[in-house]
């Protein structure tokens, strides 16, 4: 299923498209939820709620405004943050995400001393990694991140933008290298076959 096809089928409410969407994006989205909400089953509940919102509001998704994943990530992230706000309202606690005791509410305490992100994001400079982890994965606002990291809001904004651009560069190389490797490999294979 091509990406365009997937979107078309989603918009016509084809359940097979939902299945495809889940297979491709559920793990990535759960990775985001799970870094904000510690409890696995709660995180899955939030993911379920997010998927239902995605499915029901798929008509509102406009391809011209961005990629499907970006839109889905936004919904998932907002659902997660809503959950946390509801939860903290419910327990009538002024304690915010950054509070040391937030663990008891099932909210992951951000710990920037522990690098828990995987993949190429780790090749980012520490100062960029931090903001990406807090903002993208832990649901911090830029203001909260600036307080947490003890750096000015403007700096957070700048680092955030640079980090995103860096990510683009890091991941852009991947297909080039992969294609290079793949073509080299297949050439060798062809040669081997030809020799035989």
């Amino acid at each position: 299923m091509t990406h365009e096809n997937l979107i078309k089928k989603l918009k016509s409410k084809d359940p097979s498209a939902l299945s495809h969407l889940y297979d491709n994006y559920a793990p990535a989205l759960l990775g985001v939820v799970k870094r904000i909400v510690k409890n696995h089953s709660t995180a899955e509940d939030i993911l379920q709620e997010s998927f239902i919102k995605i499915w029901r509001n798929i008509d509102q998704y406009d391809e011209a405004k961005g990629r499907l994943y970006t839109w889905m990530h936004r919904i998932t992230r907002n659902t997660t943050l809503n959950y946390i706000n509801l939860k903290s309202e419910k327990i009538k606690s002024a304690e915010r995400i950054e509070n040391e005791n937030s663990d008891i509410y099932g909210i992951q305490k951000p710990n920037i001393d522990v690098i828990d992100l995987k993949g190429k994001v780790n090749t980012l400079d520490r100062i960029y990694y931090e903001v990406i982890e807090l903002i993208y994965f832990k649901g911090y606002t830029q203001k909260d991140a600036s307080e947490k990291l003890g750096i000015p809001l403007g700096t957070v904004k700048t680092r955030c933008r640079i980090a995103i651009r860096e990510l683009k560069k890091i991941y852009e190389y991947t297909p080039v290298i992969a294609m290079g490797l793949a073509s080299t490999f297949s050439l060798m294979l062809l040669m081997l076959l030809w020799i035989k």
């Binding site: 889940y22 759960l30 961005g66 990629r67 993949g119 190429k120 995103i164 651009r165």
Partner: protein
Amino acid sequence: MDKINQIIESGILEDYVLGLLNESDMSEVESYLSQYPELRSYIEGIERGVEKMAIDNAITPSPDLKSKIIESATQPVSVQKISSSTSWWKVAASFLLGIVLCGSLLFNKINNIQSEISELKKSMALKDEECQKAKEFLSKNEELIFFLKHEATIPVQLDNNTTNMVVYHNPVAKKTKLKVKDLPEINSSETYQMWADVKGKMIDMGTFSTGQDYRDLKYIAEAESFNVTIEPAGGSDHPTVSRLLVSNKV
């Protein structure tokens, strides 16, 4: 072109991808996107980067989550309907069950009551019968007492060594009764017979045996004496004088 560079340099597109913009900034970016299609490829580059990072940091969900999500997402309204209707069904079913249970209990109770009633009716009928018998017995006895105490009733004692009986004769009521107390033993082929002496002629008053309490005898108006003989079973037309048991005058 300057404007495009300016937008890119501002960093608003990165914020857009990260979802950090407020409503008004977001619609601003969206208007840039429709205005400058060149921005699309730039944004897509950023998006792909973030997306890949997210995929690198994916967490595998539980195996059953997918079916749960697909089920609840594809049947959002009917799920609620079903769940609400199932609860209605449950209510209705439990109501029915309750009715059936209460009904069977009541049915049982009614059955029990009905059998009790029929038992009571039976015993009532039995008591009625007994009561009727008692009434009959009582009226019979009252009648008897009335007869025995009647001033016109003449008791005639008939006794000797082996025999003891009384004949009650009432010319007003025109009735004669016999009370046997003792009689000599006789063969089964024999019977006792009572005779009334009317001007030298013996007139049959009927046969009798022991154990019959105050039995009626034929009323003979001009009876001068009562005589008992032993006769062959069934009685005789004329008394066997040789076997006269006892005799007494009125």
